[in-house]
Each structure stands twice: as structure tokens, then as C-alpha cells.
């Protein structure tokens, strides 16, 4: 078999779980999953196009109009300095989603590479998995606190915490998936016809593990958003006047008894985002990768 034919065969395998016929159709039949996907898409679109969607400037204060409960002009009311809460929630969602996404993407990439290396190079396996065990010994919130203490509170501290929270679990899942792929015939065939290590790792191994990693990351996304917003709530993340949902909830706490909506609306927004992400993740897992069930 020539290298070209083999590569073609691997490509057929590559489309993997995501392209498996009927998977999307089965997902489309799950009403909860469809609703969650639609909700999440519209939230993401609103976040991306925040400048267009937001009815007001999220930083524009209006001291003649503070702590208004929801009205026709301000759907979510105004906060303690008269800023429009709906606009701030839209911008806050943008920042919160961005944090979660950056954390999951960087953490997923690092964890994926570690896991696949561990599966491909048996000699590195022990060391990599021990490193992963050590990383697992740090609760994410503590990492956030420690980094914020050393480097100052800010988005960087939160991103580092979220990456550390993502890497070890992804590495374990990726290693498990990659060990399975290593046992397949095309890996041996590739080695036999002299495909380079690099091609074997990137084209043969990684592309076949990617859907498992992807499903796992979707499952984790909600948790990552929760950790990020908790750090924001503690004041370790975005600093005022930047809008970030966790931080907005913390600021509204001071006015809880006069104007509870200032704190509850951003909290509710986080809840809706995470709920949609969790429901979609569960449905994706059931359809694509039931092995992740534990």
C-alpha cells in the first residue's frame, strides 16, 4: 500500500464520530438539545455583535436614573450608577464567554497534546501522567487566587486558572482515546510504510481523537464558565468598569436589599448560559461518545 492510499484511508476514518451518519439527525430529534443549541447560538451571536445589539452604551452612567427596576426603556433596569443593565449583561456575556472559550481552547490544546504524547511515546507516559496528577491536586479557584496574588487580579489570572483546570482532565481523556487508536491497524500500517512520527501523530492519531476531546470540552465548558465567574465574583478577574457577569453580580450584592435585580440578573445570565451548555454537552455525549458517560 502506498502512503497516499493509506492517507486516504485514514481520512475516511478521520471524519470519526462527528461525521458518523445519523449522529446529527439523532441530535436534531432531541428537543432539549435543539433548544439548548438555539439558545446558546443566539447568546453567542448577541455577545459577538454586542456593539450592535446593546441598546445603550454599557459604560454610560446616568445619575438621575439609578437603580431603576425593569422598565420599557431599560428592560433589565439600571444599576447603582444608572447604567443600562441589559447592555452591561450583553457585554458581560461577551467577556465571560471569551474567558471560558480561551480557557477551554488553550487548556484543551495543551491537555490534548500531553495526552496524545503520553499514548504515542510509552517512555514519556509515566512522567506526563504524573505531571497531570500533580496539576489535578490544585483546585482551580486556588490557582486563580494564587496567580492574582502574585501578578495582580485581572483577566490573565482567570485565564491561567481556567487553563490549569482544563488541562489534566483533557489529558486523561485524550490519552484514553489515543491508546485506543494506537491499537488500530492503520497505525501499524503507517509505521510499516515509513510514515514519519510527525505525520503519524498529527494526521493519524490526533485527527482520530479530536471528536472525543471536543465532546469532552463541550461537557466541561459549563464548569469552566462557573469557575471563571466565581473568580470574577471574588474580584480576582475583570476590574471595574469592565462588564463581566461574575463581577457584576458581586457589585450588585451591595444593593441587594434596595434593588435585587442588579445582582440577580447577571447571576441569572450565567445560570442560563451554563445550563444551555450543560444540556447541549450531555446530548452531544449521548449521541457521539457514550463512553464518556462515567
Amino acid at each position: 500500500m502506498s502512503v497516499e492510499t493509506l492517507n486516504a484511508a485514514v481520512h475516511a476514518e478521520e471524519s470519526g464520530a462527528l461525521g458518523r451518519s445519523g449522529a446529527l439527525r439523532r441530535l436534531a430529534r432531541d428537543k432539549v438539545a435543539v433548544a439548548a443549541a438555539l439558545l446558546l447560538t443566539s447568546i453567542a451571536l448577541a455577545a459577538v455583535f454586542a456593539p450592535v445589539v446593546a441598546p445603550y452604551d454599557p459604560y454610560l452612567t446616568d445619575l438621575t436614573n439609578v437603580m431603576q427596576p425593569p422598565t420599557a426603556e431599560h428592560w433589565f433596569g439600571t444599576d447603582n450608577t444608572g447604567r443600562d443593565i441589559l447592555s452591561r449583561v450583553i457585554y458581560g456575556t461577551r467577556n465571560t464567554l471569551m474567558l471560558g472559550l480561551v480557557g477551554v481552547v488553550i487548556g484543551g490544546a495543551l491537555g490534548g497534546v500531553l495526552g496524545i504524547w503520553a499514548a504515542y511515546y510509552p517512555r514519556a507516559d509515566g512522567w506526563i501522567m504524573r505531571l497531570v496528577d500533580v496539576m489535578l491536586a490544585f483546585p482551580a479557584i486556588l490557582i486563580g487566587l494564587a496567580v492574582a496574588a502574585v501578578a495582580g487580579a485581572g483577566l490573565t489570572a482567570v485565564v491561567i486558572a481556567l487553563v490549569v483546570a482544563t488541562v489534566p482532565d483533557v489529558a486523561r481523556v485524550a490519552r484514553g482515546a489515543a491508546v485506543g487508536v494506537m491499537g488500530q491497524e492503520f497505525m501499524e500500517a503507517g509505521r510499516a510504510v515509513g510514515v514519519s512520527d510527525r505525520t503519524l501523530i498529527w494526521r493519524y492519531l490526533t485527527l482520530n481523537c479530536i471528536s472525543t476531546i471536543f465532546v469532552f470540552l463541550t461537557l466541561r465548558f459549563g464548569q469552566i464558565i462557573l469557575i471563571g465567574s466565581a473568580l470574577g465574583f471574588l474580584g480576582m478577574g475583570a476590574q471595574p468598569p469592565t462588564a463581566e457577569l461574575g463581577m457584576m453580580a458581586a457589585q450588585g450584592r451591595d444593593f441587594l436589599f434596595m434593588a435585587p435585580h442588579i445582582a440577580t440578573i447577571p447571576s441569572c445570565a450565567i445560570f442560563v448560559i451554563v445550563l444551555a451548555a450543560n444540556l447541549l454537552g450531555d446530548a452531544l455525549r449521548d449521541v457521539l461518545d457514550p463512553r464518556l458517560q462515567q
Binding site: 490544585f138 483546585p139 487566587l145 502574585v150 466565581a230 461574575g246 436589599f257 445582582a263 440577580t264 451548555a277
Partner: protein, 312 residues
């Protein structure tokens, strides 16, 4: 039994060193040079150099780190910049309330989670099952502070049923009312994952041969469920509680901050906000050690619940 625990200790040790190193770095980044502060603003360069020498600040970082570990082992964590008290004293005052809060949360979450999960498994496929699962998904998606805000707003403020700021004292000395709301906040978020996993585990066990045998020999259904099914389903659930330890700890930091609960988490957050580095490093270290200890305890409990692991 021994192997599991030895493995956990082996993993914990580098993690502990990592924590110590992070905490050590915290002391290194103090924005101003401690020698200059001690010497005062008008000091000559030689005086500062002499003080640096005396404090050991001129020596290589690894040696300073070894020194630091020595001091930590002796319980000397430095002095708080803000309160000027020893950090170890501050920690001794705050660790009790934190443990109290976590135990309170577990006392609420574990029985409720186990009961709901078992109920959902036994009534599998019914409306009740779906309702319990829906509640647990919602619970998993809830930020800790959202639950706290709702409890403070309604139970604490509007209905004025329970206190919601600070801790009035130890439980045996009238402190119970002030513990309920914080513990409930932290406990409620844990019910979801526990119920979910219990349901899966019980369903799995209910299909096992020994459950069929138990039923065949005429045991009452309650006995089958509680003594045969639940006991065996506990094993994965205990693992989950270990995995949730990180979550519990993070949640405790948020809960303590919300309820002005005088625990280690609130101490850490306050210290970071006010740049009190010695206190921050001490508090973070204690929290990390607490986390490692919880994991160790879970491993021991695991072996106790699954006697198969006790064989060599």
C-alpha cells in the same frame, strides 16, 4: 489498602512542594524590598546591604526556598502586614469555621443527594425521576453565589428567618442559626452531582445478580435497596465526593466571602485584595493542604467501603 494510600501520598508530595513554591513566590514579589523598608528612607546603601545579608536575601533562590520550608515546618509563616499578628495565629482562628462550614454543607448535601438519586433510580422513567434529574442539572449549572444571593434576599432579609452575616459562635454555643444559610448555600450546589451519580450507580447495581438473589430469598424491597444496592452504589459516589473536593473548596471561598464567614477563604481573598502577602500565602497554603487531606481521607474511606481493596 496500603498501596492506594502510598500512591496518594507520593502524588501529594510534589503537589505540596508545588504549593509551597507558589507561596514562596508570593513572598518574593512583595513590591518593595523588605531590606529597604527596615532600613528606612534615608539609609545608606551599605546599611541596606548589611540588612540584606542579615535577612539572607542575598543568597540564591533555592537556598532561600529551603529556608522557607524550614520555617513553614516550624509553623512560622510570618506576620500579617495589616493586622501585625502572626499569620499562624490568624490561620488557627479561621480554620475551625471553614471546617465547620464544609462539614455542614456535606451534612446537607450527602444525605439529600443519596436519597434523591436512589429515589430517581427506583422510580426510573417516571415523572418523579425526570423531575429529580431536571433539578439536578439545574443545580449543576447554578453559580454558588446565585444560590447565596437568593437565600440572603429571601430567607435572610425578607422573611428574616435566619442570620446571614458572620458567625455568632461555635455550634455548641448558639452558633447553629448563623451556620445554616452558608452551609445550605454550599450544600445545595453539591446535591445535583451527587444525586446524578447515585442514580447511575444504583441503576447499575440493581441489575446485579446479588440483588436478584436478595429479592429471590424474599427480602423486603427497602432492605434490598438500602443494604444491598445503596451500599454498593456508594463506592463511585465516594469517589465523586473526592472529585468534588476542589469544588467544595472553591465554593467555600465564595460562600465565606458572601456571608462574611470568618474562615480561611475569606481571609485569603481579603489578604489578596489588600496586598497582605504573608497572610495570603499562609491562607492559600492551608487551603491547598486541606484539599490534599480531603483526597487522602477519601482514599481511606474508599478502601473501607470496598473490602475487596483490602486484600494485598
Amino acid at each position: 489498602m496500603g498501596r492506594q494510600i502510598v500512591h496518594r501520598l507520593l502524588v501529594s508530595f510534589p503537589a505540596l512542594l508545588g504549593v509551597l513554591f507558589l507561596c514562596f513566590c508570593l513572598l518574593q514579589v512583595v513590591p518593595s524590598d523588605p531590606a529597604m523598608i527596615i532600613a528606612g528612607p534615608d539609609a545608606k546603601a551599605e546599611t541596606i546591604a548589611a540588612i540584606r545579608l542579615e535577612l539572607g536575601l542575598d543568597r540564591p533562590i533555592p537556598i532561600q526556598f529551603a529556608d522557607y520550608i524550614g520555617r513553614v515546618l516550624r509553623g512560622d509563616l510570618g506576620r500579617s502586614i495589616i493586622s501585625n499578628r502572626m499569620v499562624s495565629e490568624e490561620l488557627a482562628l479561621t480554620i475551625g469555621p471553614t471546617v465547620e462550614l464544609m462539614l455542614g454543607a456535606m451534612l446537607i448535601a450527602v444525605p439529600l443527594g443519596l436519597a434523591l438519586g436512589t429515589l430517581a433510580a427506583v422510580k426510573r422513567g417516571t415523572l418523579l425521576d425526570r423531575l429529580i434529574m431536571a433539578i439536578s442539572v439545574a443545580g449543576v449549572s447554578m453559580p454558588v453565589f446565585f444560590i447565596g444571593l437568593i437565600l440572603i434576599q429571601y430567607v435572610g432579609f425578607k422573611w428574616a428567618l435566619l442570620p446571614f452575616t458572620g458567625r455568632t459562635g461555635p455550634i455548641w454555643d448558639g452558633g447553629l442559626p448563623s451556620l445554616i444559610l452558608p452551609a445550605a448555600t454550599l450544600g445545595l450546589v453539591l446535591i445535583g452531582p451527587i444525586a446524578r451519580l447515585t442514580r447511575t450507580a444504583v441503576l447499575e447495581v440493581l441489575g446485579a445478580d446479588f440483588v436478584r438473589t436478595a429479592r429471590a430469598k424474599g427480602l423486603r424491597e427497602t432492605v434490598v435497596i438500602v443494604h444491598h444496592a445503596l451500599r454498593n452504589a456508594l463506592i463511585p459516589v465516594v469517589t465523586l465526593i473526592g472529585l468534588q473536593a476542589a469544588f467544595l473548596l472553591g465554593g467555600a471561598v465564595v460562600t465565606e466571602t458572601m456571608f462574611s464567614w470568618p474562615g480561611v477563604g475569606r481571609l485569603a481573598v481579603g489578604a489578596i485584595v489588600s496586598s497582605d502577602f504573608p497572610t495570603a500565602q499562609g491562607a492559600i497554603m492551608i487551603l491547598a493542604i486541606a484539599f490534599l487531606t480531603i483526597n487522602l481521607l477519601v482514599d481511606v474511606l474508599y478502601v473501607y467501603l470496598d473490602p475487596r481493596l483490602q486484600r494485598p
